[in-house]
Symmetry: C2
Subunit: 210 residues, 2 copies
DNA sequence: CCAATTCTGAAGCGATCGCTCCAGATACAT
DNA sequence: ATGTATCTGGAGCGATCGCTTCAGAATTGG
């Protein structure tokens, strides 16, 4: 928990904070992509020499792996967590998609780091691939839970929850690639509207008010 | 039209057929990705030396640009063309998605070349980006036309065609990234089912039989 | 035959890649 | 202080990148 003074180590101490460097690294990987980010660019942007990076993290791909942990934590806090645990049915899903849109367009075309990694061609470590799969499953589970709550509250019928979950998941991926592919704000808004109005059509006629 | 003997040129003739090489190049770009394909790999796989490639096509990115022409032609023939011009409403869209799925999974995880390019990080020529945008618009137009036909035939209502178009377009992109991201057959099937069953829900109660 | 023209293979350009090596700097334990 | 352990900056490793250069091969026109 305490950031320093775990067990006093011998030898020269590190001149940087590991976690801080990981956060900075994730920003670079996120903005520029994993393969397109060189270890020299990391050295420059993190202010940590390559030898220190390799001494600390071992390899570029292990650095990414550690950085993703931080990314997932932030994602859980801002997007997936609220969808999963904060209650709400269709409204929670709509809020999720609006937050997602803001998330992936905050820096121009940055998208979602994990989904971007899914799209990167081969050459990714198995550990990374495992991570991307796990994350996709976590989003799916959160979407499904929200749909289930919506059904429990009578907002929607109970008959097609799995199909609708997959539809929403597909749109999460589609939104990301649209943004990465350089779609303009109008086009991205169109995709969001498509999701929202489709969800509205899912509502049962006699929805409970409370 | 005739492959040879257009205007008799002076000097040593080319030892390969341009169009044939472009077709082979597109396969490599498609399978391995644009950035991950080196000019030496092209030399090896196409059986044409780098100097000849550069003498003929100018640069790696112009080679890609020419290769995409061939790709789009095949795409139009097998996927977009039928959707756009062959008639049919929801059934045509469903056929389109099933063909798309076969298309992007025929070679493991290959996806769609154009959508893959959308997902590749920066460094793409403006010409290429323009192409990917044009293609996305063409798919959208074809999807919209099919939905319009479905509405004309009374299959679906006329009220939400644009939103539904965007929903389908988003799922085209989502399907692609799911496949590229290493989704298994079951997961990909799930996405397809999600689309098909959602389209079924669009049908008006009193759909005309013919 | 002899220019003139075009294409090809191989070698090589400078730049960059992920990563390593190592001497010097800096800490702790004794 | 001394020894031991760790970290740091810089130089450098071999490999690869997109692309160019160039001498010879292959063709046509005269």
């Amino acid at each position: 928990m305490a950031p320093t003074a775990d067990t006093p180590r011998r030898g020269r101490p590190r001149a940087f904070d590991d976690e801080q460097v990981l956060t900075a690294a994730l920003e670079v990987f996120w903005r520029d992509g994993y393969r397109a980010t060189s270890t020299r660019a990391l050295e420059r942007e993190l202010g940590v020499s390559q030898s220190s990076l390799y001494n600390t993290f071992g390899s570029k791909s292990r650095l990414l792996d550690r950085a993703i942990e931080h990314y997932e934590a932030r994602l859980d806090e801002h997007l997936v967590g609220p969808l999963q645990h904060a209650g709400g049915g269709l409204d929670a899903i709509e809020r999720f998609f609006r937050s997602l849109l803001a998330w992936i367009t905050a820096d121009r075309k940055r998208g979602c780091l994990v989904i971007n990694l899914m799209a990167e061609d081969g050459g990714l470590d198995d550990d990374i691939t495992t991570r991307t799969h796990r994350y996709r499953d976590r989003v799916r589970a959160a979407l499904r839970a929200a749909l289930q709550r919506a059904a429990d509250h009578g907002e929607i019928g109970t008959e097609a929850i799995d199909e609708r979950t997959d539809l929403l998941l597909g749109m999460v991926l589609g939104l990301n690639i649209a943004v990465r592919g350089g779609a303009g704000p109008a086009e991205v808004e169109g995709l969001l509207t498509a999701i929202v109005s489709q969800m509205a059509a899912w509502r049962t006629v006699a929805a409970t008010a409370g």
